[in-house]
Amino acid sequence: MLRKQKREKYQDRIELLQGTLDLLILQTLQWGPQHGYGISQTIRTNSGDVLRVDTGSLYPALHRLERQQWIASEWTVSDNQQRAKVYRLTTAGKKQLVSERSRWTQLVEAMGRAMNPAEK
């Protein structure tokens, strides 16, 4: 099915904070190693096409996470004989993911309560 590419208006783009992008990437890799393109597609799909990560944010994030040794990379050959750099979650990364998720959950709860103070 052909999807028509709409030019998004500036206001429609949701700016992702650096920390939340890290969380998304780690979460994505939890389901298995992926290359950069795959990660961006997965995030897009899983968020219902809302979160579109642009490459100017994705690749720096990937390299930064790799530097902090939460993900590791290696070059593999894909099925159609193409070389691709594939990232996977490390043990330390798994720990980081767990702590980030709980922090995110807390943040979401807090935001929710702050936005709707009437609810108890």
Partner: protein, 875 residues
């Protein structure tokens, strides 16, 4: 590194390309044409350059984040182990501080150039007539300044005897040092004024108003560092001078050891009562010159040679001088009054180097013990994802942080301690030294800190690098914990003890040597005597040559209450000047190799200086009036020239042969005394009455007091002033001070080496404590088993003490060998003992043993007092 960077860039390109490729493939699969797919994919990808830039920024910025993280981790580790951190910092502070204190002094004396512009262009002008050194006169220098082309300027400076100085009507009591200089002095040296202006040629004229440039120190002290000091006046030797400038803070003149408080143009000499300074026959100046850029010393020397020959009438010519030559010596580091300090300072630097080595061994042991204790923690961290390189890097960061703190404190300690060193180096003299912290000292401190950090930081890294995940996690369960670390720690302790042995032995040798030197029989009493030096002025010298005047002065001095007697000598026993002479008897003409010295003394000299007369009589007042030529000779002289025969009544001549017309009769024998150098054996001395014989330098004056000599000083000053208002005293000081200043190098060495020896012993004790403690902890279960199986506490204690004793034994073997090799260097400074003196070496061994025992005792006792049940239960 560049290959790595290129590889990184290439990989990024490939990654971007593969991303695009996959994006395009996806779109084609969904039905777009290749062209459409390409467009869309690229558009969605965005700006490739932006992507590249942002990734590069990530690559560049990571190191700062990592560093901050490591620093924070290091700080946390330090806070968690305050005792350990404190021990490390204190040990380092003392080790580095010791080195910096010595280096600071060495830098000030030997290494640093004068704080002037381009010191490499400065030369000292040494005149030589017939090969003998001869200074220049003021007229010659002024003439040369006008005629010379190869130099930018030539200037002279000389000491100004400051007899009285008053600021704001207040007479200053502290000793003030002044210099008279030619007009071009500051310009030749390249020293600008901090405030006001420096001298010009116009200031150095008889008609010019009297002006002065102050030193920074003097300006701060007497003028309160006020800018309005310029233009104010004060009086020097009854001449009112105006302040026209203040020299920069680091400037102290051109002589190391002298730091004048004020400079005055030389032409003011006559107005200051020193007309002789400007006379052509007073050749008293050693000029300085600054070469023109590009001119070599040989060229300038050639020009000066010609000038010297041509204008020699303007300066003093020695009788019979035919060869007039000039030698130029580079003087970028200044004239040095501390030459005798150079080799002791180098020795001290070597000793200080050993101290820091000991400190590093100590620290390495500490770090190893801690590293072993953290084995389990390391294992956990490795298991949860840290890499070994990261652990190692964090340990190194912590070591460097501790080193930085220890080094900074050490730096402060060292600069403060160097003041004590300066005091030791200038004891009893008028020399002054103000070391200031310059780039050389800072660089030395920084390199030493980093080198130390590497030395002791390597140990835990070696241990950390060996850890594998398995061994680390299971460490708690086995008893093989830390075996490698313990062995390495023991190795470090042995190294430390060996070096300590050398240091302690050296310290003992130097202390004993000074004790020998100072406490030997000098031939005269050390206390209850005052020495008086009168000002080096022609009028004063002239007066003191007159016998009547001298008698008046001696009488006045003896009459002071509290004074036993007064006397004078052509050279005091420690004046640093010697009069050569010959001694010929009828039986024995003078041999060419004879070394003996003549001294002319007043009556009561021997009783004033407490020199016993062994037989015969001393020089008396009658000898001064009579024409008979008499002398008192020292024991050594008697033995040397008369053998066993009684010299009293015998005669001799001060010449190559005995001449009865010039015969001098021996009337007494004095006990031997040290004349000018306490390090030499007693020399033959001949004492003659003060008016018989020629002497050129002004006499030294002595006063023997009943009580403490220092308390009599004001009375002496008052008495002299009462006698003659214009008889200016340069210095009055207790004789003991003079004696101490004669041996100040040995004294300095004794104090410093002794102090370092004590430091080494303390560090050794700490080191032993650490390593035995470590061993005890390691063997807790084993000890528990032993105790449970019936071993006595004494046996357990003995086990650990024996371990320490083995370390001591090994160290003294290694240390003994090192000592044999290294202590040789102390031979030149030792007095009364050899570097291999058995008493000292054995004492060093025993001291080290005592310290080892002391350090090992507490941990051994702790092991012996273990509760077996608890010990066995320990994991």
């Amino acid at each position: 590194m560049r290959r790595f960077r290129r590889h990184r860039e290439e990989e990024l390109e490939e990654e971007i390309a593969s991303h695009l490729h996959m994006a395009i493939q996806d779109r084609i699969e969904q039905g777009a044409t290749p062209a459409e797919a390409g467009h869309a994919a690229r558009r969605e990808f965005g700006n490739g350059d932006l992507v590249r830039e942002s990734v590069r920024r990530v690559w560049g910025g990571m190191w700062l984040d990592r560093l901050l993280q490591d620093l924070r981790f290091g700080a946390r580790m330090m806070r968690r182990n305050p005792g350990f951190s404190a021990a490390v910092v204190i040990t380092l502070a003392f080790g580095i501080g010791a080195n910096i204190a010595v280096f600071h002094l060495w830098n000030a004396v030997d290494l640093r150039p004068l704080p002037v512009d381009k010191p490499e262009e400065l030369v000292q002008v040494i005149g030589k007539q017939n090969g003998l050194p001869q200074a220049f006169s003021y007229p010659w220098i002024r003439d040369a300044a006008m005629k010379l082309h190869s130099v930018q300027g030539i200037a002279g400076s000389g000491g100004l005897p400051v007899n009285e100085i008053a600021v704001d009507g207040r007479v200053l009591t502290e000793r003030v040092e002044g210099n008279v200089v030619t007009g071009a002095y500051f310009r030749v040296l390249g020293v600008p004024a901090q405030l006001g202006r420096i001298f010009t040629e116009a200031d150095d004229r008889a008609s010019a108003p009297p002006v002065a440039v102050l030193s920074d120190r003097f300006w701060r002290r007497e003028f309160g560092a006020q800018t309005d000091a310029i233009g104010r006046t004060f009086t020097v030797n009854n001449l009112r001078v105006t302040v026209i400038g203040v020299a920069p803070p680091e400037f102290f003149g051109e002589t190391i050891g002298r730091a004048p408080d004020l400079w005055i143009p030389m032409n003011m000499g006559p107005q200051l009562g020193m007309g002789w300074m400007l006379e052509p026959y007073t050749a008293w100046i050693e000029p300085l010159a600054r070469l023109r850029p590009g001119v070599r010393r040989e060229q300038a020397q050639a020009e000066l040679n010609v000038l010297y020959a041509v204008s020699r009438h303007l300066t003093l010519r020695r009788g019979g001088a035919v060869d007039f030559r000039v030698e130029l010596k580079p003087i970028g580091n200044g004239r040095n009054r501390f030459e005798t300090l150079s080799s002791p300072l180098r020795l001290l630097m070597g000793i200080a180097g050993f101290v820091i080595l000991i400190a590093c061994c100590n620290l390495a042991g500490l770090f190893l013990a801690r590293s072993a204790a953290r084995t389990h923690e390391m294992g956990v961290r490795l298991a949860t994802g840290a890499t070994r390189s990261r652990l190692v890097r964090q340990m190194l960061t912590e070591s460097l942080m501790l080193a930085a703190i220890g080094g900074s404190i050490g730096f402060l300690l060292g600069t403060w301690g160097s003041r004590g060193l300066v005091a030791l180096a200038t004891t009893g003299s008028v020399l002054r030294l103000y070391p200031n912290v310059d780039s050389r000292v800072v660089l030395f401190a920084a390199s030493l800190t980093i080198a130390s950090a590497c030395l002791f930081g390597l140990a835990p890294i070696c241990s950390g690098a060996r850890k594998t995940l398995n061994s680390a996690l299971s460490a708690g369960l086995r008893t093989h914990t830390g075996r490698f670390e313990h062995r390495l720690a023991r190795g470090f302790v042995v190294a430390q003890l060996s070096i300590s042995l050398v240091l302690v032995a050296g310290g003992l040798l130097l202390v004993r040597s000074f004790w020998n030197l100072f406490n030997q029989d000098w031939g005269y009493e050390k206390s209850h005597i005052l020495e008086i030096d009168f000002a080096f002025e022609p009028d004063v010298i002239g007066k003191l040559h007159s016998e009547d005047y001298r008698r008046l002065l001696l009488g006045k001095l003896s009459a002071i209450p509290g004074v036993f007697s007064a006397a004078a000598a052509s050279e005091g026993p420690l004046a640093g000047v010697r009069q050569d002479g010959k001694f010929s008897t009828l039986e024995r003409p003078a041999h060419s190799g004879d070394k003996l010295y003549y001294v002319q003394v007043s009556s009561r000299y021997f009783e004033t200086m407490t020199i016993p007369i062994l037989s015969g009589r001393p020089i008396t007042e009658q000898d001064m009036h009579r024409s008979a030529q008499v002398a008192v000779i020292s024991e050594t002289a008697a033995k040397k020239f008369f053998g066993d025969a009684n010299p009293i009544g015998r005669s001799f001549t001060n010449g190559d042969y005995f001449v009865s017309a010039a015969a001098i009769r021996v009337v007494g024998i004095a006990r031997d005394l040290h004349h000018q150098d306490p390090r030499e054996p007693f020399l033959p001395l001949v004492f003659r009455p003060l008016n018989q014989g020629r002497f050129v330098s002004p006499p030294s004056w002595f006063v023997r007091t009943h009580d403490d000599p220092a308390s009599t000083i004001p009375a002496v000053r008052a008495a002299v002033k009462e006698l003659d208002h214009n008889l200016h005293i340069d210095r009055v000081h207790p004789w003991k001070e003079v004696i101490v200043s004669k041996v100040r190098e040995e004294r300095m060495l004794a104090w410093i080496a002794g102090g370092f020896g004590v430091l080494a012993l303390v560090l050794a004790c700490v080191g032993i404590y650490g390593v035995v403690s470590f061993g005890v902890n390691r063997r807790t279960r084993e000890t528990g088993v032993k105790l449970a199986l019936g071993a006595t506490r004494g046996q357990v204690r003995g086990f650990f003490l024996r371990e320490a004793a083995v370390l001591w034994l090994v160290s003294i073997v290694i240390g003994g060998v090192c000592a044999f090799v290294l202590l040789r260097w102390t031979r030149s400074v030792l007095f009364g003992l050899t570097p291999y003196d058995p008493t000292m070496l054995v004492s060093a061994l025993l001291l080290l043993g005592a310290v080892t025992l002391a350090g090992a005792y507490l941990p051994a006792r702790r092991a012996a007092c273990l509760d077996p049940m608890n010990a066995l239960r320990q994991e």
